[in-house]
Symmetry: C2
Subunit: 429 residues, 2 copies
């Protein structure tokens, strides 16, 4: 059997439609299972998950524990976000009334400021007093979030608490991924920081996350009786790699070749008529920098100097030391008349899927990373929520597709929850 | 000072705009206070609250603990309802997976069936297996909820549990206000019934509810520094009244006269140029039957036989024994080009305001009960949620008005929560 995405038979077990149908049929089992899992591993305060829908498989490719982009969500779903924030804060911090948001140190990123203003409003409308204060004093940081009257202050320590002026918060909400390291100011404070700063990119590894994810995908696949590969990309940590001196080229080439073979076997098993590819990326780090797609193992050895430099340094100018190779997942989704490729990004507050958008890139193709800076990045907010499937409609209809996205996304969220559990156990030791 | 509704000054302390402004300014204090209150008195599983907005005061006039009308809510807010159901069930019954809905015994009310179908879908999409079974075997009950494939079964007892066929639920959701009494079938069962059937209309008294409400309104008014009268109608229980034999006419006439005087004093204090009126209604019971508006105390003695009969028997053909007189609250809201009078009804799941609609009645006027059966009843779903105010907009703008409705409505919900607390204490004794 050899089929292309568009001709995949309705009953084909490697199709997202099959996945949607199976997930819809087993909704109450799935939700019961999730409830038990969240009980064992509480979800992080918030997260955004990048998914890729290849038409024949659907998988998370990135899990961000300090999400920006709240401004890109459909404002119609703000009440859903607010209700989720109210629920989680009330459950975890029943006496809290003041929240301090600690943002990224970006002083000129207007998109980030829009996110920050939105996050401020969401927490405020959840019924809290809110302030914004950066960890460090940033030279050219504006006094107010642009286009708002929300001041940006500088955090200070006051009696073992992080404060902004005389505002002593009950909890600190971190919207900074700590690529530059664990902040000095956090070392002495006693109150709660959400999510745990130990999960910042200075120490977190994608390979740890995807390790948990693989376990979860296997459990979930077993429960709904599917091949876990349909929701789980192969991955492998490559250990320390220095792209600049070419010393690791042979080793990584071999690993890529092995993974391409594994993917090809799966493609053949399901009759998928596509070229396998892998994605090579920094094991820690972020912002879509230092990510390349490779269809032939030898491509990795022919990277030019510019490409190598890009791989060697990601956000915060850290040299990449640990590298991850991951099965590339095509994106089968396109939007608009010009059929620009798009990938869904799902947002969570606690374990609730509260919304999402499509990341659309005009200049990239179906096997490339779409999380790239540049003017062509277009968020397209979901028109339906991720929690309200409609069994009367086709499994592929928007409410059902978004529900499926919310389910797969929650599997990645659960992986993050297990990461947090592990970090907490370590801290306790 | 003498003003009409439309000319009420912006700073006038008897205006809903003043109330909206005060509530917006004190949002975080109010929400913090609510969080503490819900901790002490958990909200009922669900409720709908009828409000009346007179322009100069805003108050709840009825609190329904077994609400129908879920079909009248804006479907755009279904995700908000679902998320709230998930949150409360998960918190209170972490192991539950099967829910049995016990509906009213209505076999021909198509509006009620639409509510039932909607409630079924909301619980199902929250991730539960759901069945519907009536308490009693009803002669002409259809096999399925009309226009759906949802069977209506008859509940039976099986090993001290209420079951529907071989479906043994983890919890029972009661959507029947028990006007006809505490069902025999509930007497022996051991599992949880939500809301507690002890709160059914066979025993619940509106005067108890409004007693709790008055305490709460006083606490709340003190916190935000307003006159509690702005949110709390006067009321008085009249004890046992038999409208048919006229024996209580003198006593009730005197009580009405006293209350009309009290209201007139308040109207004079605030310069409100309106005729005071009182509403006389059954202290227990429901469905807007047995409710009359009276502007002159002697009107009560000149009721004709038909009117007396209407007062003497409410839903379930119970003779009215206990009667409540309550300050009438004008409704200042009109909808449509024809300016039909309307009153807001707010829906809650747990302590969350999840939506609402306007009850519109073409044939009634601003001082009449709008909860009356008939073809002219028109629900008009809210276009905005009740939890997302917008400080940049006018206090009277829809998001802010609906937020205020959600706050006042939650005060009535808290009164219901205290009723439940009291019932639980009694049961424990």
């Amino acid at each position: 059997m050899s089929v292309t995405d568009s001709s995949l038979s309705k009953t084909c077990k490697a199709s997202v439609e099959f996945l949607e149908k199976t997930i819809l049929e087993k909704q109450s089992n799935i939700e019961t299972w999730f409830r038990h899992e969240w009980h064992k591993s509480p979800a992080p305060f918030y997260a955004s998950i990048d998914l890729r829908n290849a038409g024949f498989k659907l998988a998370p490719v990135d899990t961000n524990l300090f999400p920006a982009g709240f401004n890109n969500l459909n404002p119609d779903f703000d009440p859903l976000v607010i209700q989720a924030i109210q629920t989680v804060l009330e459950r975890r911090f029943p006496d809290a009334r003041k929240v301090l948001i600690v943002p990224e140190n970006h002083s000129r990123n207007l998109f980030y400021f829009k996110n920050l203003a939105k996050l401020y409003c969401l927490i405020k409308n959840s019924g809290y007093e809110v302030k914004v204060a950066t960890i460090d004093k940033i030279e050219d940081m504006p006094e107010f979030i642009p286009e708002t009257e929300i001041p940006i202050e500088v955090a200070r320590i006051c009696e073992s608490r992080i404060c902004a002026g005389d505002f002593s918060p009950c909890l600190v909400l971190l919207n900074n991924d700590l690529s530059s390291g664990f902040p000095e100011i956090f070392k002495t404070v006693k109150h709660t920081i959400l999510p745990p700063p130990q999960l910042g990119w200075y120490s977190r590894l994608k390979s740890t996350h995807f390790g948990h994810y693989s376990d979860i995908a296997a459990e979930f696949a077993d429960m709904i009786d599917i091949d876990p590969w349909l929701i789980d990309p192969f991955f492998e940590g490559c250990g320390e790699i220095n792209f600049m001196d070419r010393s690791s080229d042979d080793a990584i080439e071999e690993q890529i070749a092995t993974m391409l073979n594994k993917i090809q076997k799966k493609y053949s098993e399901y009759g998928i008529n596509k070229d396998p590819f892998v994605v090579v990326k920094a094991d820690s780090g972020t912002y879509g920098m230092g990510v390349i797609s490779v269809k032939k193992a030898e491509d990795i050895t022919t990277l030019n100097r510019k490409q190598r430099k890009k791989m060697a340094f990601s956000k915060g100018n850290n040299a990449i030391t640990n590298v991850l190779i991951q099965e590339g997942v095509y994106t089968n989704e396109t939007v608009g008349g010009d059929l620009h490729v798009a990938e869904p990004v799902i947002y969570h507050i606690d374990h609730h899927a509260v919304g999402g958008f499509y990341r659309v890139h005009k200049d990239r193709s179906e096997h490339e990373n779409l999380n790239a800076p540049g003017a062509h990045f277009e968020p397209l907010p979901f028109t339906k929520s991720c929690i309200n499937p409609d069994c009367k409609k086709h499994p592929n209809a928007k409410p059902n597709r978004f529900y499926t996205y919310g389910v797969i996304s929650r599997l990645a969220l659960l992986a993050a929850a297990r990461e947090i559990n592990a970090v907490k156990k370590e801290s306790a030791i």
